[in-house]
Amino acid sequence: MAANIRLLQRRRRTAKNIAQITRAMEMVAASKMRKAQEKTVAAKPYSDKLRLLSQNLIGRIEESKHPYLLPRQKGKTLVLLVSSDKGLCGGFNSSLLREFLRFVKEKSEVEVVTVGKKLKKAVLRTEALLIADFPFGSSVPLFESILPVVNLIKDGFIKGEYKKVAALFTQFVSLGVQKPVFTTILPVEKETEELSKTAVAISYKFEPNTSELLTALMPHYLEMSIYQILLESYASEQAARMLAMHQASENAKDVIWQLSLTYNKVRQERITNELLDIAGGAMGVSL
């Protein structure tokens, strides 16, 4: 009985410690997510303008005239798979993996570049060929850190190895909802009619000429789109972690409550038993 009580106490203490850690992690994730959102907002004027200018140029150039725009029939598919370096973020990585496996099953000749350690091993177990992996890091991704990724993708595409380059990453829908999505990175697609129409409507004087400008603009456009993807994935990861840790804290609270209840019951029972013993003993003496 006594051992049981001590065991209960110990378990309650453990649960308290865990609750403390998960609460701290929840708060860290929350502040990291805020930072990611600030970055995204700060990058918005640049990326919006870049997109508008790119669409203007794309609208003026025939698809077949430029390597970035050329639709291709043959070649492999390259997937940029953005996961996280760290775990403890709920279903973040597993839902990405599920989506990825479905994709691999449908397509043949898939090559993969991973950012983030978590899904690297999973990719190695599939038929898809892992050609490069990059760490994600545990803080807001730096703009410089994406340059090697961009170069890899760009060179492979220009050489004609791939017919399509897509990214699989986790979209930040809201604080509670993040979902894995595929987006095409290359060839660069014309955007919805409306946007491209307004963009093309502005007739600039182009110096030196549209084709050369597009060649110069495209690397920046790619960098920015991939950077945005990384930022969004980072925000999603932190949001997922925040939620997971919140749930863990709540669970720990429940466990603590349950354990406290059992502990008190056991303690009370023991006191009652002792009292009964004493009463019984006293009765025996008085007889």
Partner: protein
């Protein structure tokens, strides 16, 4: 006289957003000065020095490679790096210059070399505009 609205935008932030009278920019086809009522223009910017006039005051900025858009008296410069002359930290720039030079001397290959070269160019540019100080009244 109408004014120009100059905005210099980097992926990190909007570095500058001001009403100015004229802007001189190092474009690929040569240095150009833009005055109000300029036609819509879209061109590339070379790494170099931008200077603009605000009333009687002339101010300087260093910019890296980028793009220039002129539309309805709004000038947008998109670049991955830009800094105002008074914001350049001379000590840091000097240090960066030295570091880049060392890296270049060691003749690192491929990526490292390109990075070092870019850093050197950036540091030299920073130092050049830093000498211009806070701008001057003409």
């Amino acid at each position: 006289m109408s004014k120009l609205h100059l905005e210099i935008i980097t992926p990190q932030r909007i570095v500058l957003s001001e009403e100015v009278d004229s802007v001189t920019i190092p474009a690929v086809e040569g240095e150009i000065t833009i005055l109000p009522s300029h036609i819509a223009l879209f061109t590339r910017v070379k790494p170099g020095e931008i200077h603009y006039l605000k009333g009687k005051e002339q101010r300087f900025m260093a910019v890296n490679e980028g793009f220039l858009e002129v539309l309805n008296d709004k000038i947008n410069i998109l670049t991955d790096y830009a800094v105002r002359s008074e914001e350049v930290e001379v000590a840091k720039a000097e240090e960066a210059k030295k570091r880049a030079q060392v890296a270049l001397r060691e003749k690192k290959s491929g990526q490292d070399f390109v990075v070092a070269e870019a850093q050197l160019r950036k540091a030299i540019l920073d130092l050049k505009v830093a000498k211009r100080g806070r701008g001057r009244v003409i």
